[in-house]
């Protein structure tokens, strides 16, 4: 390790001070340090674990941030979950002992699971994705995201289990893929009628085609997803995906009985969808 700061002897934990903490870089795999020099960062609530210096944390509802919000925060439903950090100093970000990494966007776009995004620079614009439960970042700048285990980057064409998806960049057409081939035919009919054999839990994937990159993690069931991916009241119009799913917590489909939690991005039960 080449962090350089004071070590308490061989094998002892490294001791950091305000000067030895890295600037906008990882402290270790689970902690990221952001340096603020009068600048601002958007930060998801509860992801800051410590800070040095004078840093103010203000909710984004605050009137002073009107101009900032106009350029870089287009997700009114998530306003309650985000704060603006500004001032001088260094702050440490972490989330559920997940691996934390920063990503640089250069005039690019990336869509990420809302619960996995920790912080971003205001030079990026945060928008709610059309896919419920995901947020899209557009522009140039740095953002910090968490994943369970290191993120694996994959090129399309690819089909991904909804729980394993962290996000994607540039893929033009993320869509749902249903695979229930074993439910057809005589044996399959018996299966779906009697329920014998259960389901494989892999009937539904997200499919990615075209140019781009898909980000994957090992699937996670340790902590409930935060309900910030839903479209709120007032937006319950036809054609808005996720509308009417607000407060869909505790909703359990047949997959839910198998311990597979209902993801924000998941549509209705397959049987209902396909008329089975």
């Amino acid at each position: 390790m080449n962090f350089g700061p004071v070590t308490g002897g061989p094998g002892a934990p490294t001791v950091f001070d305000p000067h030895s903490l890295p600037s906008d870089d990882n402290v270790n795999a689970y902690t990221f340090c952001v340096e603020l020099k009068g600048s601002q960062w958007f930060l998801q609530k509860g992801k800051m674990i410590a800070y040095y210096g004078r840093i103010d944390f203000n909710g984004v509802g605050n009137g002073r941030f009107d101009r900032l919000l106009r350029t870089s925060f287009h997700s009114p439903m998530h306003a309650a979950d985000w704060v603006v950090a500004e001032g001088q100093g260094k702050m440490l970000l972490a989330d559920r002992a997940f691996d934390v990494n920063s990503y640089d966007l250069d005039d690019g776009n990336l869509t990420i699971r809302s619960g996995n995004l920790l912080a971003y620079q205001p030079s990026l614009a945060l928008k709610q994705s059309i896919v419920p439960g995901f947020l899209t970042l557009i522009g140039t700048g740095k953002f910090v995201a968490a994943s369970n285990g290191p993120v694996v980057f994959m090129e399309p064409p690819l089909r991904v289990d909804p729980q394993a998806l962290v996000g994607w960049a540039d893929c033009p057409s993320p869509c749902h893929h249903y695979d229930h081939g074993y439910m057809s035919g005589v044996i399959g009919g018996l299966r779906s009628l009697t329920g014998i054999g259960g389901s494989s839990g892999e009937e539904h994937q997200f499919e990615f085609v075209g140019a781009g990159t898909v980000l994957l993690q090992s699937s996670e069931m340790l902590m409930a997803e935060q309900a910030i991916g839903t479209v709120g009241a007032g937006a319950e119009a036809a054609g808005v995906p996720g509308a009417g799913y607000g407060g869909g917590h505790g909703q359990q489909g047949p997959l839910g009985q198998l311990g597979v939690p209902r993801m924000p991005g998941q549509l209705g039960d397959i049987q209902r969808r396909l008329g089975l």
Partner: protein, 216 residues
């Protein structure tokens, strides 16, 4: 075909037509190509009798068969994954730790009592493994899940190894195991060291130990 480790929590496997694989249901993370995932009615091999055997032994686990042609990524619940390549020997592992394994491997259940008699049964109770455990035999790869990282400890004939039963993940080879107790009056009055039971493995092979005492 061997699994390729993408990182500590994800493995990748090639699926070739005509070669079946088994994996825990819901453990697929992503795939390329045309691959089908069919819930295995009998929970593995051996037909209906195999299923009944596993049900009786309480070693049934929701498995699915993976067939087709393409690449599949496996991972589950953020658990660490250890890939074990078997070349003819037998792997002893709890069924719910199995993430994925080659269809060429022969799946079976073993009565704990057959290894170490009554003490083997006591061991099963202490470790929470129950009275039975799953065996996989043959040539092929197995991906096993563990809480925390896994280390592989070799077992050689005159160097038995002691393992915390809760940290035990799996073992393979020609290994005899017995539960050794270090129970004293302190344990009786509730002032024990918390390490009263240990698993002693001797013979020729390897044991896999997780860096956690948490069960899956």
């Amino acid at each position: 075909m061997p699994f390729r480790e993408l990182n500590s929590k994800m493995v990748e496997a090639q699926v070739i037509p005509g070669q079946k694989m088994f994996s825990q249901r819901g453990a697929m993370l992503a795939y390329r190509g045309e691959v089908s995932f069919t819930p295995s009615l009998t929970g593995g091999q051996g037909g209906v009798m195999g299923m009944i055997g596993r049900r009786v032994a309480n070693e049934q686990t929701p498995l699915m068969s993976v067939e087709g042609s393409g690449t599949v990524m496996f991972g589950h619940g953020g658990h660490h994954i250890q890939v074990i390549n078997l070349t003819g020997e037998t792997l002893y592992v709890e069924a719910d730790r199995l993430l994925a394994f080659d269809g060429t491997l022969q799946q079976g259940t073993m009565f704990m009592g057959s290894q170490g008699g009554v003490m083997g049964m006591v061991r099963g109770q202490v470790t929470g493994q129950g009275l039975f455990t799953t065996t996989l035999k043959g040539h092929g790869s197995v991906a096993v899940m563990a809480h925390g990282g896994v280390i592989e400890l070799p077992i050689t004939p005159n160097r038995p190894i002691h393992v915390d039963p809760q940290a035990y993940v799996a073992h393979h080879g020609d290994v005899r195991n017995k539960l050794s107790t270090a129970l004293g009056w302190r344990d009786m009055v509730g002032r024990g060291s918390g390490e009263a039971f240990q698993l002693e493995l001797s013979g020729q092979g390897a044991v896999y130990v997780q860096a956690s005492e948490e069960k899956l």
